[in-house]
């Protein structure tokens, strides 16, 4: 088992370094009772994609008091065929978002993070796989989404933060088609964004007992000039008795969001 795990991690690292390598996976995942690749478990991304999905050098953070803790670690980037193909207006908007990060980023306000951002936030998430539907539940903000694999619900009646997810299996890969976004979520803390025209196609493929390959195609004709791709490995949380804990961040942003409406001391 240890040897297998080591190979799996090595494979995951290779994929991380060479994200363009896209050949069919040699690994065949264990099966669930209904014969599908078993992706159940608690997963988490490593790296700094949550800061900036594009390659970036380390940089200082905006909060002086946080010093080294608040600085932004460097990252190789998870965009496969970058730079991100923004339309000219959208490139300007991205820049504006970055300049106004503290006031503009929905993550800071503890809003539901959307897809794919939920996946690579620095928090674990859990896949709960059943034959007709798959629940993905995220530690950040207790976000959840249901992925229908029986395609009984084909259309979302309303736009949402986490989108409307339909899933299907292609061999070893879970393919999830996500639409009906409300356009209020971002892609990272660097101001990368999308509109409510976004369509996300996610592909989850086991590349070892303890790693998944996560590939995402983003298509948004309002914002981008062509579809583009993200790719990164997801690692299984192997901690003893691993479980999602609460990160109900509303509590942590109440001062930020409502502080100006608080009763002043002494009144």
């Amino acid at each position: 088992m240890i040897a297998i795990a080591r190979v799996a991690v090595a494979a995951a690292l290779l994929v991380a370094v060479k994200p363009a390598a896209c050949q069919a996976p040699a690994y065949k995942a264990p099966r669930t009772a209904d014969g599908k690749p078993n992706l159940n478990g608690i997963w988490q991304v490593l790296g700094s994609a949550h800061w900036d999905i594009e390659g970036h050098a380390a940089r200082p953070g905006p909060v002086v008091a946080l010093g080294a803790v608040g600085a932004v670690p460097a990252g190789l980037g998870v965009v496969e065929d970058g730079p991100i193909p923004y339309q000219p207006w959208a490139a300007a908007k991205k820049k504006e978002n970055a300049e106004n990060w503290l006031t503009a980023d929905p993550e800071i306000k503890c809003y539901l993070p959307g897809v794919p951002r939920a996946t690579y936030l620095p928090f674990p998430f859990q896949i709960v796989q059943t034959p007709k539907s798959i629940l993905m539940t995220y530690e950040f903000a207790s976000a959840s989404r249901i992925i229908n694999t029986d395609n009984a619900v084909t259309e979302s009646p309303i736009d949402t933060w986490m989108g409307h997810s339909r899933g299907r299996w292609e061999g070893e890969t879970l393919v999830v088609d996500v639409t009906s976004f409300n356009g209020q979520t971002w892609l990272d803390r660097a101001g990368n964004f999308h509109s409510d025209s976004l369509r996300v196609v996610e592909r989850y493929t086991a590349i070892g007992a303890n790693a998944l390959r996560y590939e995402v195609t983003l298509e948004d004709p309002t914002v981008f000039t062509r579809p583009w791709k993200l790719s990164m490995p997801l690692y299984r949380r192997l901690d003893r008795n691993a479980q999602l804990l609460e990160f109900k961040c509303v509590e942590f942003v109440e001062e930020l969001v409502y502080g100006h409406l608080r009763k002043k001391a002494g009144k």
């Binding site: 809003y111 709960v128 629940l135 249901i146 309303i158 949402t160 209020q184 109440e254 009144k267």
Partner: protein, 340 residues
């Protein structure tokens, strides 16, 4: 779901998870849990790995009150006729489209049944209270500490909120008012979807879309210093029943002024094709003088469960705090004009 929640959705949406009785795998279930009269010939479905299959979307809306109404004292179970009468009078009393109360009542009834989804029926057992123990159907007396805590909390909620912490956890969008544990019927979104794997059961409440993951592998509870708003749940199977044990709550809890010592034991048993019996026992010696228990037969329902983005649209909190500040300012200015 249905006409409830923050938006008005069409009714004709198809279920996403709806295991029909025909999907049972033909295994003989243990007779014990099927001894209830309503379930004599019905065989509880099993998952492919042999666990009782509780999956699906379950609706716990009901107009049966938690506590037995005083005028029904001594009457634990209603007759069919009494149940029909109770439903009729309750719905008439609650009808938000009534216009017989003057302007103030009209404002109070501003939200009509597009919003509210209390349900229209008493529970299938026709019991006159959800509480089954104590036998009088009433919540046991509070301890002195529980009374004191409850009164302080109530006073806080009555007064103008100095900040969001003075409002309850539901208004703050930290927890869903009815999502538990324990789940209790409320004004709307009385729905929970159950997912099962061999390792865990997950309860996804529609209210605030909050997933509670219940490990089944016998692991211990979190360390006692790790406290959570929804506590920490562990599950096990007892025959056909899922038993979920929850501790590690934090203050303030979301349940009737309970302390963080609250210990909730929930039991889920399928009793017929369309019913998941949900029972819970509350034990909190810092709040109540004895443990107490309730039972709610949840009905299978069609979905899907919708996203409920509560915090993202919490204009209520903004308005409530802004209103309190405006009132203070008005009072201040009135005092300046008329100093006594």
């Amino acid at each position: 779901m249905k006409r409830s929640g923050m938006c008005h959705f069409p009714l004709a949406v198809i279920a996403i998870v709806c295991l029909t009785p025909g999907s049972a795998h033909g295994q003989t279930t243990k007779a014990a849990a099927n001894s209830r009269p309503a379930a004599k010939k019905w065989t509880a479905p099993r998952t492919p790995w042999g666990a009782p299959d509780l999956q699906g979307i379950w609706d716990f809306a009901t107009i049966t009150p938690m506590e037995r109404p005083t005028d029904l004292a001594g009457k634990a179970v209603l007759t069919d006729q009494e149940a029909a009468e109770f439903e009729k009078t309750t719905l008439e009393r609650r009808n938000p489209d009534r216009r017989d109360g003057g302007a103030a009542a009209d404002v109070g009834r501003a939200y009509n049944y597009v919003w509210w989804d209390y349900g229209t029926r008493v529970i299938g057992t026709r019991r006159s209270s959800l509480i089954v123990d104590p036998p009088d159907g009433k919540i046991p007396p509070l301890t002195p500490e529980g009374r004191k805590r409850g009164e302080a909390r109530a006073a806080l909620l009555r007064g103008p909120a100095a900040g969001p912490e003075d409002r309850n956890l539901w208004e703050r969008c930290i927890l869903g008012g009815n999502a538990g544990p324990p789940m209790t019927p409320g004004a709307y979104n009385n729905n929970v979807q159950l997912f099962q794997t061999p390792e865990s059961v997950v309860l996804l409440n529609e209210m605030i879309n909050d997933a509670r993951i219940v490990p089944l592998d016998g692991r211990p509870h979190l360390a006692s210093n790790v406290r959570q708003w929804r506590g920490d749940s562990r599950g096990r199977w007892e025959g056909n029943t899922l038993v979920v044990d929850t501790t590690n709550f934090r203050d303030p809890t979301n349940f009737r002024g309970a302390s963080s010592s609250l210990h909730v034991v929930e039991r889920f048993t399928r009793v017929d094709a369309g019913t998941l019996l949900y029972e819970f026992t509350i034990d909190d010696p810092k709040t109540w003088t004895r443990p107490w228990s309730a039972a709610i037969p949840m009905k299978k329902t069609e979905g899907p469960i919708y996203e409920y983005a509560c915090h993202e649209g919490n204009y209520g909190m903004v308005n409530l705090l802004a209103g309190a500040r405006a009132e203070e300012k008005a009072a201040e200015e009135a005092a300046k004009k008329d100093p006594r």
